[in-house]
């Protein structure tokens, strides 16, 4: 046994990953089932010289995170559905002002106060379109405790690289379960830091695309270059504008910096899809039930496979489009009334029959339920 193997809770792995990624600021508000992330951040951050603050509400937490990130610190907050709703206003601010930050949403049953201690995956669409207006966002979803660690690091890296808020969309099962984890040697972890303005730049303009990659270099408050940041539509200087061309250019760049880099951002795992006639698409803890069902059905000789999404948004359109024509059915298994299934259906473009396996009663979808659904769909074909 490796000396580093230990039993770790999902929420704990999130904090470990965040600190490994360079998180030095956390602002949050207590909410089940994410609270352990705040508690552990409060304990661990000062030990590495970082800062923790429990704010007066979820809105303030998101504001404080953005403020801290503007001074150059990597910052994170964690919440669950009700708090995620409240954070949306300032998530939009971070999207438009391109301030890197990580938002963890440990999903629980909803809507409203819903089922505070029970799992759900009902915030899939809110994670994509929760704040108003066209905006870029990246959403990651871990299935294993070890993957919570890895994807938290990745969330910081993507957020820093693309100057975009990145959401780690967990569910209660993966957040609260404890699982064997072997943490990697910190020196082997790839860390990405935001691009800083080249010192040779005179009259720095905070939103100018100096490098032509759609990502402006980011100065920090306190570094000596005064600049302005506003939640209004702004030109390359950072000052407000209502000019149609400026507006169009800004929104286009915001979206393109993500959609031009899908190969770098989108990540998923294909399991037994090569000869599959039925492919199940899933994510988070639900994917583990699907994986078990795939194993069991393969043993019985059924041609079944799965795609496990590690990024939910931007959606892995290619994963669907690349499926061979041997595939007859797609099933989207998710703990909600049917959210991602519509996006999968759109991606399928009529090539495959698409149906949903949905559960929204506060219980994880079981392998038996997956098997029953597959058999139902196969019987229909």
């Amino acid at each position: 046994m490796s000396s580093k193997a230990r039993l770790m809770q999902g929420n704990e792995a999130c904090v470990e990953g965040a600190i490994a990624a360079g998180m030095r600021f956390y602002a949050g508000y207590p909410i089940t089932p994410s609270t352990e992330i705040a508690e552990l951040s409060a304990e661990m951050l000062p030990k590495v010289g970082g800062k923790f603050i429990q704010m007066e509400d979820e809105i303030a937490s998101m504001g404080a995170v953005i403020g801290a990130s503007l001074t150059g610190l990597k910052a994170m907050t964690a919440t669950s559905g009700p708090g995620f709703s409240l954070k949306q206003e300032n998530i939009g601010f971070a999207s438009l002002t391109e301030v890197p930050c990580v938002i963890v949403n440990v999903q629980r049953g909803g809507p409203s106060t819903g089922l505070p201690t029970l799992p759900a995956q009902g915030d899939v669409m809110q994670a994509r379109w929760g704040t108003h207006g066209d905006h870029p966002i990246i959403v990651l979803s871990p299935s294993y405790v070890k993957e919570v660690y890895e994807l938290t690091i990745r969330a910081f890296n993507l957020s820093e690289k693309y100057r975009v808020p990145c959401i780690l969309l967990m569910d209660e099962v993966v957040a609260h379960m404890r699982e064997k984890v072997e943490l990697p040697d910190p020196s082997t972890i790839k860390i990405i830091n935001r691009k800083k303005p080249d010192p040779s730049i005179v009259n720095y303009e905070p939103y100018r695309d100096y490098d032509g990659d759609g990502i402006p270099p980011m100065a920090s408050f306190g570094e000596g270059i005064p600049f302005h940041v506003t939640g209004l539509i702004h030109d390359v200087t950072g000052f407000p504008s209502t000019n149609a061309k400026v507006t169009e250019a800004l929104i286009t760049r915001l979206m393109k910096k993500i959609y031009d880099n899908l190969d770098d951002i989108v990540d998923y795992e294909c399991i037994s899809v090569e000869d599959a006639e039925t492919v199940i698409i899933s994510f988070g803890s639900t994917a583990r039930s699907v994986l078990r069902a795939v194993h069991l059905m393969r043993q019985e000789g059924h041609k079944i496979g799965m795609i496990r999404l590690k990024t939910i948004w931007p959606f892995a359109y290619k994963a669907i489009q690349n499926l061979s024509s041997a595939v007859k059915n797609l099933i989207v298994a998710e703990m909600n009334f049917g959210q991602l299934v519509e996006t999968v259906r759109a991606s399928a473009g009529g090539r495959f029959e698409v149906s949903g396996l949905n559960k929204f009663n506060g219980e994880l979808i079981t392998p038996d339920e997956v098997i029953a659904k597959v058999k139902e769909v196969m019987g229909r074909a």
């Binding site: 230990r6 039993l7 201690t117 609260h176 404890r178 064997k180 583990r288 994986l291 994880l364």
Partner: protein, 177 residues
């Protein structure tokens, strides 16, 4: 031992079953196996039915929840009644001797867990550790050495001796079968 062993520890809130589950999972990891521990809880911090679940496997663990336990521990009648029916056919139930032994188609082991905690350590609060010791030796699901190390790593400073005594009493209970 089978490929995937499912263990459910049940009783009332405050009996320390979640801690027992965590220790059991850690002992399995010390044995070089994979383990997943999860729990269900209501809004109340104390009282009510409580359960911790542990899955131990030589290979990686996909579905993380217990469906048909191989082992059920029940420290209260309420917990036994709630969870007794869906064990695997070759499963085993370990109950506290204060519970009336039910008629069930699986093996039932009745052990004086709570009484032993009271008589041997003077503290009922360590019944969870006594139970863990008994479960370890009765089922051999994890090694005694790993359980002991896991217990010592987890229990609060200053309570090591108390917990060690509880654990050894539990080992004896399981070995007496």
């Amino acid at each position: 031992m089978g490929e995937r062993m499912e263990i459910r520890l049940s009783g009332s809130g405050g009996q320390g079953l979640i801690l027992a589950g965590i220790i059991l999972a850690e002992a399995a990891i010390l044995d070089g196996k994979n383990a997943v521990q999860s729990q269900s809880y209501g809004p109340e911090a104390r009282g009510g039915a409580s359960r911790a679940e542990v899955i131990i496997s030589e290979s990686s663990i996909d579905y993380p929840k217990v469906t048909k336990p191989d082992i059920l521990l029940a420290l209260t009648e309420e917990a036994l009644m709630k969870y007794k029916d869906n064990l695997k056919p070759d499963g085993v139930i370990i109950i506290d001797s204060s519970i009336k032994k039910p008629e069930l188609p699986v093996k039932i082991i009745s052990l004086p867990i709570i009484e032993t905690a009271q008589n041997r350590t003077g503290k009922v609060i360590v019944a969870n550790i006594v139970a863990l010791g008994a479960l370890t030796t009765a089922t051999k699901i994890v090694s005694k050495e790993s359980t002991e190390k896991a217990v010592m790593d987890r229990v609060p400073k200053g309570t090591e001796e108390l917990n060690k005594k509880a654990l050894y009493s539990g080992f004896e209970l399981g070995e007496s079968l």
